[in-house]
Symmetry: C2
Subunit: 134 residues, 2 copies
DNA sequence: CGGAATCCAATGTGATACTG
DNA sequence: CAGTATCACATTGGATTCCG
């Protein structure tokens, strides 16, 4: 399997040992994954599920702003991608628990890094936006 | 400034020293930032710009799939958020260079982590999706 | 070259109502 | 409780045209 895409991690490292053909970044898995995760809710839902399993309505309340439709759709999509597990407990009334799969768990670390960045730099983004009269 | 939001980084760390009110994750800056970056192109464009500055048509070719409209809109949005700088060189024909601002540069590390994850685990996602007849 | 403007189609998103 | 169904609206994407 010679490289049809960038071969190894740290493709975006600041100091690259050698110039990697990054123009192909959009063609390699990175583009795919970013496109799947690049919607309004996926990142947030994954983060939430990363803290602990959640039930459906619990997510619905926590995310706030998401519609039932998009909550269901996004969860199904993430489930489809093997990142989220949907566990149905046949109680009455029914209870459904969503949690990260092992694969989803591995995504939690990079996601945490992004969340940490958000906490640290959200203010600067707000300030920048204020300047642009947004 | 007592915590109106989660106070410190690593909010999503697997082993939390104490139970943080993560239900408020959607209300804290994380939700905002994830929402801004959570679109089809922002993550990819930032990653691309993280490798080196790019010109407009260069981005248009590299991202492949993006329309002029969305490329311009997304770049403006990122510029507005203080993540991307637009530098016009009054040559003839005109040349415009997009690059990361210092703030945008700080985002590059978490973004790299995500890109690395993508390279490592894209195959597993594909496999999962295949099982679900997607 | 680097856009902006316009039109149009496709998809995303949300509110509401309804169901097992 | 955990969704589905339906409709209405917003956003996105593509293609084309035009401009400095």
């Amino acid at each position: 399997m010679s490289g049809t895409h960038i071969g190894v991690p740290s493709v975006l490292a600041h100091e690259l040992p050698r110039p990697v053909p990054l123009d192909e970044l959009a063609h390699c898995p990175v583009g795919d994954v970013f496109r799947r995760l690049g919607d309004r809710w996926s990142l947030l839902l994954l983060s939430l599920l990363g803290t602990r399993p959640h039930r459906y309505n619990e997510l619905h309340r926590s995310v706030e702003g998401i519609s039932q439709r998009m909550l269901t759709r996004t969860l199904r999509s993430l489930e489809n991608d093997g990142l989220v597990r949907r566990q149905v407990y046949p109680t009455v009334p029914p209870s459904v628990e969503y949690s990260l799969t092992p694969l989803g768990g591995t995504l939690l670390e990079p996601l945490s890094a992004l969340a940490d960045w958000a906490v640290l730099h959200a203010g600067e983004m707000d300030a920048a936006r204020a300047q642009h009269t947004d």
